[in-house]
Amino acid sequence: MSKIILTPKEQPQVPLEVDTILPDTLAGKSIEEIKSMHIQYGNSEVELKEFFDVDGESGENPSELQIEFNGDVYNTKRIGEGMTTGEIVVKGNASMYVGAKMKGGKITVEGDVEGWAGRNMEGGEIVVMGNAGDYLGSAYRGDWRGMRGGKITVHGNAGREIAEYMLGGKIQINGNVKMLPGIHMNGGVLIIDGNVISRTGGEMKGGTIIVKGKIDEFLPGFEFLGAENDIEIDGEVIPGSFYKFRGDFATKGADGLVYAATAKNAHIVP
């Protein structure tokens, strides 16, 4: 696998946007050509080399190409937006829209990501070693068609309204999440190992949410179906004992499922 290393010089106060820097677009270009590719800096376009040192070796085949952001790019947005193949590694934090509209390939962020990571994602994989912000794997503002496929794994915590309008694919959060995970969810799987503050699955119509930690406050629009052990979702067995709910009957034709670990959620059972 060939590798292009982008070492950030400094992160400006006005955000950078690098949706043009993808394995799809870098393949076949020389290092010199890559240096002069355009990225967005506020409302103007600048060359990549103005904010990044470019090293490494490019290749012809985008699926064999890895882009490494070698450092903290906390004010760089849209990393890997719309990528279809190859790999991106961020050796630090990243700003908003990591892997938005992603169709294939893999993105690994070793630090935290801001909001909207994996929004309207269709395929591929995003791994966040730190924490994720709000709207992880959600639909864009106004849209009712969210994440359709692919997989997102967050090793830390995530913010509010994650998996909004999710239609397919899988999101795994190892830590805790804030309000409204899986709001308007219509399909796919959301697994939360930690705790949820409130409103799990608000107005969900389909899909499955599994919470292994504690749900502080649960919505009244869910029907209690009893307890179940070692649940199976898409061929994968999730061990443990869970309370099972169907809802959210605040909306028409609801058929979403929420599983909450029995050990910590006796307070939400009717």
Partner: protein, 571 residues
Amino acid sequence: MEYIIKNGMVYDPLNNIDGEKMDICIRDGKIVDSVSKSAEVVDASGKTVMAGGVEPHTHIAGPKVNLGRMMRPEDSEKDAEAKSGDRRSGSGFSVPSTFMTGYRYTEMGYTTAMEAAMPPLVARHTHEEMVDTPILDKGAYPLLGNNWFVMEYLKNGEVEECAAYIAWLMRATKGYAIKVVNPCGTEAWGWGGNVHGINDPAPHFGITGAEMIKGLVEANEMLGLPHSVHLHCNDLGHPGNYETTLASFDIAKNIKASPKYGKRDISLYGTHVQYHSYGGTSWRDFESEAPAIADYVNKNDHIAIDVGQITLDETTTMTADGPMEFDLYTLTGFKWANCDVELETGSGVVPFIYSSKNPVHSTQWAIGMELFLLTKDPGKIMMTTDHPNAGPFIRYPRIMAWLMSSKYRNDLIENELHSWAQKKSSIATIDREYSLYEIAQVTRATAARVLGLSETKGHLGVGADADVAVYSFNPETQDASSDYMAVETVFRKADHVFKDGEIVVKNGEVVKPRMDGRTYWVNCNFNEELERNVISDVQKKFKQYYTINFENYEVGNEYMRRSTPIEIKCK
């Protein structure tokens, strides 16, 4: 500035020019006989030349258009253009922002566009957005089909008072023509209902849609306005509605057109008739009745229609037909907005996805095409998508290609569309193909004439505004029937467009993005005494019922950069 557009193949139906190789001379913003040697030459050899396009019915400005923009950020994300030079940025696929609307119409060679629904109370907002829509000449039609004053006057048989009210309202709101949407239905929606057909009375007022249409057509001809009554019939989008449509059209049959400006010969304009040509009793036995509607149009000279062609896109529906939008919302479950505009009208907005795989949508596509192809005289029919309701206006070139190529249509019918398109309509049996001359009629000449603007618009005769579109389509070597993809490409981005004698588009790109267009409105001098009575009546109602003061109502000249009143003396 002088220009000569040399050696183009000219299609100018209002002057009976059908593909003649000739030169078009331009001086001081007008078409002239000849120009001096210093005139700049634009070589149009091997190219098609037409007058600037005239859009008789679109929704590009005003509160519900803006509501569409606000409730659909995802539509803006789908289609965005960056700023470049003098050209401003913009966004929105189905509801483009104001500047982008102006640029995109102009790129297609359109130079005039009429906003077909202006709530009188929100006229200022409508004009503010029209000012921000560059290049195009514009006008707006005040909504009167559910207006309390109109209903009251017509219920009492006071057609003259109604005419005086309309004359005042056109001046106050800087309006251009009488627009009627689901007469009495939007008022009924204020009480949670609708009217069904034209003989169902409005609550409280008791007047029917039929009486409203008749009274407004009479008032329109009493005033002699340049355009006829612009009618969106009752029962839009409901199976079996074609009977209502035919009955509505028939109301104006014996009322003679008597414009005091322009050369219009119709007394009624039926808009987006595709939505009004449905047979059956439900979506299950729904079928096309377009042949019946086309037959009526063929046999009667008092009516002209536009189509509202489905383009099979994701779009945003918006109309003053509030109850219809609620029906649509219950059908789709998509987001829905609803507005009430006090004593005057209302509206609704719902996103919509027209899919070629959907049986109903495929049939709707076929019905629009049938209307185009079964109406014998293109002097009675106009190309619209009721933008953005049936699809965005940037699809006009695709509709042209469908009309000009039966092969294109058949490929679509055979390979893409749901089989209902063939089963429920006659579209698969029609092999008529439009010529460039007929395309020029349905996109320019007919609209200019029925709008009463054919003295200066829609043609290339001496004295016309120098609005000219040059397209890189060579009618001598290219065959639209087989090379339909070329039609779609070249009519989307014109080679050259002139507006008022200046080059505004070069090679498909807008080069004069800051130019201002005219605002046409009607200044009608009807009956001063009656008007005084009307105004005092209106002022009283403002105090009693409106949420704003009367003084906030009228639209001043500062709302137009190029105010272009059409003066009408009734005595």
